[in-house]
Subunit: 371 residues, 2 copies
């Protein structure tokens, strides 16, 4: 089966070497190769800019972008290896190789692996690169932001301790994309969350917003360090143990959070926004049996079958359809037009990239591809 | 069944409140109560002084000694609650209550729980306090030092990762009692050990001694911090992952050791001799999937059945009988004589206690009770 799509230009954000994104990223235009019996052609609908993308462009992320000579020649005439940046994205299947039975034109797919390159208008994919999703009843932006934040939250709530209704989870960075997903999924499962956030001028607004998502309790980091925190949290939990701590910050707040875990609690690190390591006193390891682990969505995807990944996506989609997991705040950037020139698209991209890098206060930047 | 033992004086190291051991410990003489249908009388043969005993006397250990009025009246005439210190010991059953079927006079038993109080010549015990051991073929000192160091080493090698022949373990504090047991048990199971020790004037002697126990490789902490360490360890392991790290030191050495664990390795903390917490960079949690746990023999004993504890002891005893697990260096202190006065016994005890506290360079101090 082939599509009507034949020789449109692909617009992509590419790099030819690692470095500061401002220096190494460019917008590149090239042609999609013809369909083969074992490949799919996909057209991206929307691709978010996530924090880890930056590290990948800098070359400091364990999973590297795929460099290839198949993306054509740069305007300077040299045939260099290029990689497309971006790791998360929603696409529509527009052509299917004759030997592929599992996909049809019009299917919506999400990208199932890191390093694929999602900041482009079209791509060649193999059936292993993508996972088809049943998008009936969920929005395009929700589908485009499905695989990183909500899945990370879902897995961390499932895989480290057994959480029953009424149990307690504590997290820092509660206002991050994952943090908000944790609040909502926990709420859907009747699990209580204690949410640590940084103090800020509009703290009451933030508290109200997280409350509206389902946050059970909210405490600023400054309050957490105070003498009253212990009694306050004890009052909240009714003396019950906090079973799970989720950490994307590191440094002092991660250490402080550990103290509030109950016996045999689990502290899971999935980020380090503070860029600081955190210290662990031996006593909580030895006498409280607290365990410290890391979580990395990329590795989970690599070590689990396509069926397991699809099952997880279906569960998350179900929560979205039930209205239990909403959009994060986002901003669409219309991008990839065939008529706009590369430099103009690059400016548009870098502007979105700047906003995405400005931290987790802002809105998620999502490239919305113009067909 | 009753014994010939009727009204001998019990000599015990007791405390009436927590504090500096020098200030709060005294030797106390009292009478053993008559045997009852549900109790055992035991006579201690040997009781070691272990590092954690100090913390317990200071009141900073999570398991507290048992304070009771049943130990008689102090010379000053006040009937205070007293506790006997010491947690590890080997005893002989000298009287058995009529309703007890599982023990007979002459059995050797070790103490199966913390806080029992082993620095005494005799005690009343219940069948749950003690575990009978088959001591045929093992020495008295080996039996007396069985339950803390070798069992800790045995469990840590068993319970955190699956170790196969040829696998690698790294540990710091390799010259400690547990460290030496780790070396020997790993050797018996054909597991390679990389042993971190502190540099010292007689470092070559120490290396030779640990080698003779079965240490595969030995490295000083100073060498570990050097630029060459990475290549050296890679050469040792042939590039294979180190699966398990055992840490009783904390601080910089524990952090440094973590770097050498392979993907999905496990870092187990069972002590903190440096009294320093250690810091964990998020990257090794997230991208290397290193896990950090604690191990505490006391908790293992509390959460496992008597059968499981007996099985572990039998395994350790088997290793001893096979000559694979030898004595640690020790010094016997003849103690508890009926004819020596309390003050003299106290001096003798505190002298041994000082030596035990002088660190892990020295020999293990073992009270050898005089019958």
């Amino acid at each position: 089966m082939t599509s009507e799509f034949l020789s449109s230009k692909v617009r992509a954000v590419v790099l030819e070497k690692y470095g500061n994104p401002k220096d190494v990223l460019r917008v590149h235009t090239y042609e999609l190769p013809p369909i083969t019996p074992t490949t799919l052609h996909i057209r991206f609908l929307a691709s978010p800019i996530n924090p880890a993308d930056v590290n990948q462009i800098e070359g400091v992320y364990p999973v590297k972008p795929t460099f290839t000579k198949e993306l054509g020649i740069l305007p300077d005439g040299e045939h260099k290896e290029l990689a497309v940046a971006g790791n998360e994205g929603l696409a529509e299947v527009i052509a299917v190789g004759d030997q592929i039975k599992d996909f049809k034109v019009g299917d919506w797919v999400v990208i199932g692996r890191s390093g694929f390159g999602t900041w482009r208008t079209h791509a060649v994919a193999t059936p292993n690169d993508v996972i088809r999703i049943n998008h009936e009843g969920i929005g395009l932006i929700q589908a485009a932001t499905l695989t990183v934040n909500p899945c990370t939250a879902y897995r961390m709530l499932k895989d480290f301790v057994t959480l029953n209704e009424g149990d307690f989870v504590i997290q820092c960075g509660s206002n991050s994309g994952v943090g908000q997903a944790v609040i909502q999924i926990a709420k859907a499962w009747n699990i209580n969350t204690i949410n640590i956030v940084r103090n800020r001028p509009d703290i009451e607004d933030l508290k109200a917003r997280l409350k509206s998502l389902g946050a059970t309790y909210i405490i600023t980091y400054e309050e957490l360090k105070s003498n009253e925190a212990k009694d306050l949290i004890k009052e909240w939990t009714g003396g019950n143990d906090i079973k799970l701590g989720l950490n994307c910050i590191g440094g002092d707040v991660a250490r402080e959070m550990s103290k509030y875990l109950g016996h045999s609690g689990h502290h899971v690190t999935y980020g380090a926004m503070s860029k600081q390591p955190f210290s662990i006193p031996a006593s909580i390891l030895i006498f409280k049996n607290i365990k410290f682990s890391g979580y990395w969505m990329t590795e989970w995807n690599q070590t689990h079958s396509k069926e397991e990944r699809a099952e997880m996506l279906n569960e998350v989609i179900k929560l979205i359809k039930q209205g239990k997991l909403g959009d994060v705040a986002y901003e669409e950037v219309l991008w990839g037009s065939q008529t706009e020139n590369d430099e103009s698209l690059k400016d548009k991209f870098l502007n979105a990239f700047d906003k995405a890098g400005a931290g987790f206060h802002g809105k998620k930047q999502i490239l919305r591809m113009q067909s």
